[in-house]
Subunit: 289 residues, 2 copies
């Protein structure tokens, strides 16, 4: 069977677009005409918004990243919207990344892995983000289920936020912590390599630290990167491009607020939420080209 990372790379090539839209759907973004005065109305409105966003973007982007925190805040009902958003994106032919940054000891990690990466799981996705602070035995259950079900991971290696450096840039035994995390990730994914040379077990590497991103691209040629930090967080297309290999593969760049809130951007004045989002997604595609 074709590795999921190969399928994603092919889809990116077909779309000519190495970007992923982050559905960090804050209810503030909805600008609804209706009064959202109950939990049910709020959840329905968010699901409806997500579906419309997927509809206007599914022919131009290869994937969506759904940030689970924006759904957990609405409790079990929100989690149902999260599940349905992933399902709808999949129906529309998009690859799905559940951005949940889960991580725990082995027995517990196995339960998280089953929740997101089992076939038919309630929150089934193609790729899951995970946190490796607990080391290999906390990551292994995720890796094992990926191998069984042809799913992928993005391990948090070098995050895009300013304080990320506090732990990640510390130097131990001549390596930074983020390089050591990258080494762990590389080892875990070495037997899940696809035909383009990338592993199903990838990494989150922000483009807000371009020098480090460039170095990571060179040191870890088999590591597919999910790249946050572009746009609202300050990373430029030039910065993001450093995460790609010479063929233009090897990374997918996320934008969340830049797309969802494009309607607030003077550049897209006069456009509705979804038209503005589509225009911004097309501009991002050109920007990264």
């Amino acid at each position: 069977m074709e590795k999921i990372i190969d399928s994603l790379i092919q889809k990116i090539r077909v779309c000519k677009n190495p970007s992923v839209i982050g559905l960090d759907t804050d209810i503030e973004y909805l600008a609804s005409d209706h009064q959202l005065d109950s939990l049910e109305k709020k959840c329905n409105a968010i699901l409806d918004y997500n579906k419309q966003m997927i509809d206007v973007l599914c022919d131009i982007v290869p994937a969506v990243k759904v940030q689970i925190a924006y759904y957990e805040v609405f409790g079990a009902s929100g989690m149902d919207v999260f599940a349905k958003t992933l399902q709808y994106a999949k129906q529309k032919g998009l690859y799905t990344i559940a951005d949940a940054k889960r991580g725990d000891i082995g027995a517990t990690a196995k339960m998280y892995a089953k929740a997101f990466l089992e076939i038919g799981a309630p929150f089934e996705c193609d790729f899951l983000t995970v946190n490796g602070y607990l080391g290999t035995d906390g990551l292994q259950p995720f890796v094992d289920i990926c191998k069984k079900n042809n799913k992928g991971l993005f391990v948090l290696v070098k995050t895009s936020n300013p304080s990320g450096a506090e732990i990640q840039n510390l130097v131990a035994n001549k390596s930074t912590i983020y390089q050591i995390m990258a080494d762990i990730t590389k080892d875990l994914g070495k037997d899940q390599l696809g035909k383009y040379g990338y592993s199903n077990i990838g990494a989150v590497v922000g483009c807000t630290h371009p020098t480090q991103a460039e170095q990571m691209r060179q040191e870890y040629p088999a590591m597919f990167m999910l790249v946050p930090g572009y746009g609202a967080q300050g990373g430029s297309a030039q910065d993001a491009k450093l995460c790609f290999d010479a063929k233009g593969d090897g990374a997918i760049v996320n934008s969340s607020r830049g797309i969802l809130c494009a309607y607030k951007n003077p550049k897209y004045q006069g456009l509705g939420i979804f038209e503005a989002a589509r225009s911004a997604a097309l501009d991002m595609q050109k920007d990264l080209a």
Copy 2:
């Protein structure tokens, strides 16, 4: 208002029991007579089990820790059981720790914080476990909401699993990563100290590495510790005791499988699930005394 950490310490003193029962309710533990052939039946059975477990333990233990992964695996319906378990424990006078190990960049962390630590939140708890790999700006929203609502955190510092050392024991600038995480935690919690000298912002410190736990107790006198690793994971009462101060305060020791699966232990032969759990919890209390 009395700090939540002071309330917890008082409750521990009244119960004479510095232990917390982990409701990592694996459906395998239920040994149900009924056929659990639908999601609804499974979720109802888990909630019923949790309520019975809380009923038999609420007069002897001060707190429960509910491990969210065991509920996420059942999707939105499982999350509803998670919420109801927290609510029921609270009704029964127990302090509640949501073991979710959440962590993300600031904007997202704020959403997680609202999901667990806002008053009336869907998953409202007294304390939440969080992961600080993203550094201070990822933890700050959790700390801020704790200050506003008198809630508490346990930041993952030194975990109980064997691979925890891979990242956490690395040495940078003469400090281990777990000490640096403890320093971040200490700084974040320094203005939320209670009358017993402990902060609402505490840490997870496993007792499977007793020398390090003892050293942490001395170096961080204001850091209340949630202590995993006792029992099934190999930590002894002697190991766990190193996390306490001279007055016997400063820590709460978790046991999950050791209590929930006590009925499988030859020591409690002939007892039902809940009787065995109560006996095991009383034995744990004696063991830690």
